[in-house]
Symmetry: C2
Subunit: 255 residues, 2 copies
Amino acid sequence: MTRDDDEFERKFAPRTLPEQVAEELGAEIVAGRRKSGERLIELELAQCFGVSRGPIREAIRILERRRLVDFNPRRGAYVRPLSLKSVADLFDVRMALSLLAARTMATAPVESYIDTLARRCAELDAMVDDGDPIAFARVTTRAVRTVAHGSGNELLAEQLADLANQTVWATIWKAPLDYQTREIRREAADLMRSTLDAIRRRDAAAAVSSQRKLLEDDRDRALASLSRIMAAAADFGVFSLEDRGKSELLANSAA
Amino acid sequence: MTRDDDEFERKFAPRTLPEQVAEELGAEIVAGRRKSGERLIELELAQCFGVSRGPIREAIRILERRRLVDFNPRRGAYVRPLSLKSVADLFDVRMALSLLAARTMATAPVESYIDTLARRCAELDAMVDDGDPIAFARVTTRAVRTVAHGSGNELLAEQLADLANQTVWATIWKAPLDYQTREIRREAADLMRSTLDAIRRRDAAAAVSSQRKLLEDDRDRALASLSRIMAAAADFGVFSLEDRGKSELLANSAA
DNA sequence: GGATTGTCGATTGTCAACAATAGATATTCC
DNA sequence: GGAATATCTATTGTTGACAATCGACAATCC
């Protein structure tokens, strides 16, 4: 019996203080309320969140692991500067790992996750017409995670989960252009289903190729919409993304 | 202990207390002195290492990140049970990331690292005949890391470094069969050089294929020698590796 | 007898004070 | 005036004590 990943997460959500702080502070960083490169002072944060420095310290380690802050011993923690390139890099790494997951799952799947993936596909099909791009993106993420677990490679699943956790995603998922049209959703749902079918008949090459197309499209849309958001919000100083190499990046991602 | 030792430690060893503890405790785990599944009690460790619980706490987080311990909030830390499969999984993930690095570096290299890689290749060539398998393995690792950096993808480089850090490697690198014969070293050096050549002429496919061959051979040797060590040492109870699926694994890795 | 609930000890979570350090500022010397 | 050095302050590293929580054992109830 497979457990539902998301209910699992919700059940064990931020119970401990450091995790709560990490969640909150991470949200502030992603939202741009903490500016790029800003120094994070433990005592100040402690007062701000109404806790002692201990939990703050651990929260900073958590955010460091999620690559939202940069930490040097005895030199303090800083909000990590994000660039469009770093987001593109993230997509590249995610793709490499996801394709490994697809190939592995198509070769020697953990049977129970095939059913889970089938359910996700059904969900996606059902959501093609109902027009909520964000919900659709969320289920897509879940399906990708299912493939990771279905590979039976625990390390791989954890690494992919870590990448997804890098809250940069939040910025991207909220991008208004992702999965916005019915056609885009239709194609994504179809690609996920053909991945599922390929896995069922143990056709690793086909599974990899469907998954690659799905993820490439996803990446291109995300980068495009992110750069639009960036341009639009730059004037307000909301986002702290550096835009060096922007056009070059978009050219690359299309290739 | 002499002052030379102290200076050596101060210069090269982990500067901060938690890192030192993590290093030491991690070594104990890898060496099998802490048994698989054993509970790690903070106060006990604190007394054992002569520090307070704070640094111990952070050390445990570090080891959790290196996948050497399993930590559940309010429920304590346990040394993570290692299996041959988990090592094989590690190799799979490393290979996926390294091939991405090779492809990226062959497509858009960070020029300066091409020279570094050339130096590594020269070092390898020079070491083919001198017969130190461990030193050869170390330089190979360094060359792989150079490719990671040469891709210009910082996240990728960090992820690969993390994987290398997972001290499981120590076990593997010390395995007496790795790079033991002149022929094996010759082929590895040649493959690394052909990777370099491919990168120089921007031939991504060739770079990936050389790198794949190199890493596959490396993995097969490592898994084979690790399973031998395991079998040999099992009687002494030194290693705490579980051996489920051993033969299956080796069959897979040959494919 | 088996399951449920209450209590207890061991262990982790949190805190506030103390020590050590890095970076900035002021001072001295040339 | 500029560079090197000394001092000083803000901030992180570390500690020991206190509070909250988990798991186990025992007492109770059916």
